[in-house]
Amino acid sequence: MLSERAEEILEALWIQMEEQGKKQLDLGASRDEPAIDELSRLGFIRKDLDHIHLLEKGKAHASGCIRRHRLAERLLTDVFYVRKKIIDEVSCKFEHLLHKGLEDNVCTILGHPKVCPHGKPIPSGRCCTERKEKRSLKFVARLADLDVKDKGHIAYLQTKDRSQMQKLISIGAIPGVSIVLLQKFPSYVFQTGQSQFAIDKELASSIYVRLTK
């Protein structure tokens, strides 16, 4: 089992390399930390004179940590309504509780989210591609994955396409609004307030709904 500190370092390395595009890292202040030794002993990193290199084994492990961290953030925001300001702090602790197996359940509960509340991508897991839903596990789900008559409130919108975002906002599909799915074939029909809208699958996949029973 990796120490918390080692995991943190591993995550920081991963973010800098995968998301900020750096090749290697200056060793700097962390030179003498025991966690660094722990990581290189496990074959996660390689250390030369001034730099740290993240190795394949380390990358795989780090991406899992990042996934758990960001899933934890989603869970805390979408389900537990934790205030934005303390999200980071709480999720750091929370992610360590989400070990394998549990992590996929959380991902399913949240509707296999693609980004964290800050908009950073969440690495996908096995559960995201398999998609064998256990109905009882749904808590937040994309509108496209709901069943007819499912009700809830829009939790957030997630689309890369700006004009799609604008379309959704202009028809009033905005976080907080209550929503009922009326039909899903041949198009998705939903009701908000007293109006009904028909949208295609693409738009329906951009709306994440927090379900109410």
Binding site: S163, Q166, K167, I169, S170, I171, G172, V177, T192, G193, Q194, S195
Partner: protein, 165 residues
């Protein structure tokens, strides 16, 4: 001649309102996007003649389609002395953000809650005074297809013009 522009989301009865005010005829139907061209007509309200402009539907001040752009351009270029924002009374929550945007833009808005009959049938009760107080503008409830509330609307337009134009 002073101008009055009619704006609002698609399918809230803007064209019927235009027909009521001007006595002219702009095509009306039960689907969003019937009006693709701007209709203009004359209306006598109080003792003054106004040019009434009916615009294609718009959801927000940030246009997505060509028709929405047409509508915004009217607001920007023609400087109407009153803007009637027509909303579906059943769906005020969804349509109020446009009112707020128009107000943010500093435009002279009168809010018209149309299709009140359907709202009442659904058991929706709207306190017009409270809306007026919150928004600090005139608010009128109407049923454009039957003409209910049109006289009050004309009165509010007169007041508005006297106060601001």
């Amino acid at each position: 001649m002073r101008k009055i522009a009619i704006v609002g989301s698609p399918n809230v009865g803007k064209s019927v309102m235009f027909n009521n005010l001007t006595g002219a005829y702009a095509t009306v139907s039960n689907y969003p996007g019937t009006t693709v061209e701007v209709s203009r007509g004359k209306a006598k309200i109080g003792n003054e003649d106004f040019e009434i402009i009916d615009t294609p539907g718009m959801y927000s001040l940030l246009p997505i389609s060509e028709e929405e752009k047409v509508s915004r351009d009217i607001l920007l270029k023609e400087k109407p002395c009153a803007i009637l924002h027509i909303v579906d009374a059943k769906n005020i929550e969804r349509m109020l953000p446009l009112t707020l945007q128009l107000l943010e833009a500093g435009l002279p808005v009168i809010l018209v809650l149309n299709i009140m009959d359907e709202a009442k049938r659904l058991g929706i009760n709207i306190d017009v005074n409270s809306l007026e107080k919150e928004l600090k503008i005139s608010v009128v409830a109407t049923v454009s297809t039957s003409g209910e509330g049109m006289d009050i609307l004309r009165g509010k337009i007169e007041e508005h013009v006297r106060a601001f134009c």
